[in-house]
Amino acid sequence: MFPEYATCPLTEQKLLDEYFIENRTRLLEIAAFLDRLDRAQEQSSSPDFRTRAFLQALEVLFSSAENRTEQIQMIFSDPTLEPLEALNQKSARGAYQRV
């Protein structure tokens, strides 16, 4: 019914023309966030679990995988299937704390 499925209708050149600047901005925001972490007044002796997940996700960005978004989602996700025995906190924190 809708033949445009599976691909983006825009050419690579058009995508770059339309979206390069806003994604350049996003990249700079990430760089600035990492610089800010380095400039923090108190540094942990070992990286926080969220920092570790964040850096692991950045490695996926450099890869040539076709499904980078899904891979990064899984880096942040709890991969287990057993329900929690009791509620330990009300809200999620953005990354699964692997032991």
């Binding site: 899904e70 989602q73 709890d78 025995e85």
Partner: protein
């Protein structure tokens, strides 16, 4: 372009938001029962909230030409409290016959606890018993993948559940396929920070197609945008997608899903272009 916001917590929004939604083409909203941002202290507090959803909010929406539909439940954020859940569930059936109530929702898991899972099953059984549509919340951030898997597996254990009468919401790149492959409807919710942007929602439509997928603002009391659905439509247009495809996602799909309730109605002008997907006034 006309659109239906399939998931909007309008009790948290101002009348100015209704105005903006109406100006941008919104003709109907569906409002799942939700967490207030703090835990309610009694089941009677929920009953008052259900009255707000069934009596007060439809009138507020009507002033802007927007149809208001709603869903009943105790939300996942409070579902770990089993005693409260039992008391609230006992109060739900009398609201199900109200003309704007289209089903049970948004039920599901928050942190994926055993208690939440039991409360989820209680809601599913209530929905089956009363032949209601089901709208399901999936957990946030790191809990989403696990919660979605538990949700799908739990639903598949019920012989009486018809997947085409269930929408599993808040899907993202890593969960959308498992929901669609199991035969359920799904929803993509557009949040500035914690869920999906308009651009990523368009990517998901491009990669997974537009069948059984709705896109909604899920606007509530937190950072969220009540006109997120037209923003999504604009993003689709920016990429060169057809008006027909955009309408399919933001109007015909929610109309088709909600139409299964037997209560969802659109004004004659709107239903002329809709074909058989919704009930005509």
């Amino acid at each position: 372009m006309e659109y239906i916001d399939m998931h909007a917590h309008m009790v948290s929004r101002t009348t100015d938001d209704y105005y903006q939604m109406a100006l941008t083409g919104c003709v109907a909203v569906s409002e799942p029962a939700f967490w207030a941002g703090w835990d309610r202290s009694s089941a009677d507090g929920f009953a008052d909230y259900f009255r707000q959803l069934t009596e007060f909010e439809p009138n507020r929406a009507r002033q802007y030409g927007i149809r208001h539909y709603t869903w009943m439940c105790l939300n996942p954020k409070e579902a770990d409290n089993r005693e409260m859940a039992r008391a609230v569930l006992a109060r739900i059936p009398k609201f199900l016959t109200h003309p704007n109530v289209v089903g049970i929702g948004e039920i599901g898991l928050n942190r994926n606890t055993r208690n939440e899972l039991e409360t989820f099953k209680d809601h599913v059984e209530l929905a089956v018993e009363h032949e209601q549509l089901i709208l399901i919340h999936t957990p946030h951030l790191e809990d989403k993948y696990k919660g979605t898997r538990l949700t799908v597996e739990t639903l598949q254990s019920y012989e009486r559940i018809k997947p085409h009468r269930v929408l599993i919401d808040h899907a993202e790149e890593h969960t959308v396929k498992m929901i669609l492959d199991a035969g359920f409807w799904t929803g993509i919710t557009l949040y500035p920070n914690t869920k999906v942007s308009a651009q990523r929602a368009a990517d998901i439509i491009e990669m997974h197609g537009a069948e059984r997928i709705c896109v909604a603002s899920a606007c509530d009391w937190g950072p969220s945008v009540p006109v997120a659905v037209p923003q999504f439509a604009l993003e689709m247009r920016r990429r060169g997608h057809s008006e027909e495809l955009i309408r399919h996602v933001i109007f015909e799909n929610p109309a088709e899903f909600l139409g299964q309730s037997g209560k969802f109605e659109l004004a004659p002008k709107q239903s002329k272009t809709l074909g058989t997907a919704a009930t005509v006034n």
